[in-house]
């Protein structure tokens, strides 16, 4: 059976739950062996950079610590378009590439601006009762994020 529909739902929900800051629901979409990274290429130093790297437990700790920090509270909206799905039936996995745009809306007045663009490179585990994210690399094209943001994209 073509898992594209289920995968599309998974990727969409992974963004919607983070948009809503429902971190518990986000983690429910992640495999116990989940690995998350944010990477970007710097032409200035001609190197790939890894800006964030956590396993599932690390992501959970990050979310737990968030309220203890001073953070920009402007909500961000992740917009995802599923591009390609490579289904490996034997391994019960799929490699998924999606386009990502992140918008930030100011609390004061509600002006929205484009915050970042990039791609999501996911590996989805299709074994089990429902698809789960096994690995996500947020590959950013945008390298200037102003004063930054605490919540991962």
């Amino acid at each position: 059976m073509d898992p594209r529909h289920a995968i599309s739902e998974l990727v969409a929900r992974s963004c919607m739950t983070l948009d809503d800051k429902d971190f518990a629901a986000y983690l429910e979409l992640c495999d116990p062996q989940y690995r998350y990274t944010i990477t970007a290429y710097s032409p200035e130093i001609r190197k790939d950079m890894t800006w964030l790297e956590h396993d599932r437990e690390g992501m959970k700790t990050l979310f737990t610590n968030l309220p203890r920090h001073n953070s920009d509270q402007s909500p961000i909206t992740r917009h995802v378009t599923l591009y390609t799905v490579e289904h490996d039936e034997a391994a019960q996995k799929a490699k998924v590439v999606s386009a990502l745009q992140v918008f930030r809306t100011q609390l004061d007045g509600g002006a929205t601006e484009l915050f970042a663009v990039g791609k999501l490179h996911d590996t989805v585990n299709l074994a089990g009762d429902k698809p789960r994210l096994l690995e996500r690399n947020v590959r950013l094209d945008t390298r200037m994020l102003g004063y930054g943001y605490h919540i991962p994209f």
Binding site: P43, M49, Y147
Partner: protein, 402 residues
């Protein structure tokens, strides 16, 4: 007790050395003066030698004094810097921030230059200029360049400036033994923030703002030795802060650092602020370098670099990268807080907000929450500007103590 308008405007009840007028953070004319009297007179970090590994490698740099620069390694492996301005019609010579150029050719009319700054070809030169003008008169404007203090490439657009060594003096003493091995940049990003460059440097010049950083409060402020660290001031406005042992595993999810730094005690942390806007921040396993490039009184570009040892194994490098980005990456715990803080200052301190004074009055025997780092900076600022930071235009009616 709240204050009325007159009370708000009154000078703070401190010596003139212990406060500044917010005009120095907001005034356009003062900013232009800073570009000529400060940035165009001081040694500034343009890039790192590891960004120019091969002959003809170059980086471009927006000098805070205004000039666009090319920093390029020649065939002789010497690094030189030039204005990134074609002497013909003023075009930008190199558009990309990085590259390799054995021959620099202007896209406009194909005038060409070599990495020593010589003009080597003027297209149809004899036909257009006859004997009146030629390559000999069309060389690039060269800028003083030196490499030092951890392999950073320094530039000074003032041909009459002192040497880099004279400029730094003893200020880098605390880091001397820790910068003896070749370093490599593994992280680079920029942030544009609507704030004044001095507000960013102020934040790097005091640790009292650790109240803003949950990470630092847990791993540092409540740990032994935190309040023992002392500020030391040096000539030319530089300052340093000595080390303590950071307890990284006190922050949930954080571990004690497995990778160290040559000569630095486990968990150690050394910070050196260099006038007018660079900070060496050596924190246990990572060296961070901030360079401030102001675009106006209320707009600042900050370049952030993270460095490790050139000799790192892949595993050591991976750990340094994680250590760096956990707190200092664009999604790191501390950097976002620091940038939010100075953004907030920029918002509250624009012209017409009626902001008046910034107080640098804490005295704690030069220990970590003392504000002498900033007082030291503004003493140098005032000297170079020929204006007192507490009343730069003499309109606040404050007379300096005799």
């Amino acid at each position: 007790m709240s204050r009325n308008a007159q009370e708000w405007e009154e000078r703070p009840n401190f010596p003139e050395t212990h406060f500044v007028s917010t005009e120095i953070y907001t005034d356009e004319a003062l900013f232009k003066e800073e570009q000529s009297k400060i940035f165009n007179k001081c040694w500034i970090i343009a890039c790192h030698e590891s960004e120019l590994v091969n002959a003809f490698d170059y980086r471009t740099f927006s000098h805070p004094g205004g000039a666009p620069l090319i920093v390029i390694r020649g065939e002789d492996m010497k690094v030189r810097s030039f204005y990134n301005i074609c002497p013909h019609r003023g075009n930008t010579l190199l558009y990309d921030p990085v590259g390799n150029a054995k021959r620099i050719t202007c896209i406009f009319h194909a005038w060409s230059f070599n990495p020593k700054g010589d003009c080597i070809d003027i297209s149809r030169g004899k036909q257009g200029y006859q004997e009146r003008f030629g390559c000999e008169q069309a060389g690039l404007r060269e800028v003083k360049t030196d490499i030092g203090y951890g392999g950073f490439v320094w530039v000074n657009v003032d041909d009459d400036s002192c040497s880099l060594r004279e400029y730094i003096g003893d200020a880098m003493g605390l880091l001397d033994e820790h910068l003896s091995q070749p370093l490599e940049v593994f992280h680079y990003h920029k942030a544009v923030v609507e704030t004044n460059y001095k507000l960013w440097h102020d934040t790097n010049s005091e640790f009292y703002h650790d109240y803003m950083h949950y990470f630092n409060r847990i791993t540092g402020m409540i740990q032994p030795g935190y309040f023992d660290r002392k500020y030391t001031g040096y000539p030319n406005g530089h300052a340093s802060v000595g080390s303590m042992a950071i307890k990284y595993d006190a922050y949930e999810g954080s571990k004690a650092r497995g990778v160290g730094w040559p000569g630095l005690a486990p968990g150690g942390w050394v910070l050196i602020d260099l006038f007018p806007g660079m900070t060496y921040n050596l924190r246990t396993s990572v060296l961070r370098m901030d360079t401030a490039i102001p675009l106006g009184p209320n707009k600042l570009v900050i370049e952030f670099r993270g460095l490790g040892l050139k000799s790192d194994t892949p595993e050591e490098r991976a750990e340094r990268i994680r250590d760096h980005n956990t707190i200092w990456g664009p999604f790191g715990r501390n950097l976002h807080e620091d940038l939010l803080g100075v953004y907030g200052q920029g918002r509250a301190m624009r012209e017409r907000t009626d902001s008046k004074w910034v107080i640098h009055g804490r005295e704690e025997n030069s220990t970590i929450h003392d504000e002498m780092g900033m007082r030291h900076f503004y003493a140098e600022w005032s000297r170079r500007m020929g204006r007192p930071a507490f009343d730069p235009y003499g309109t606040r009616g404050i007379k300096a103590a005799a």
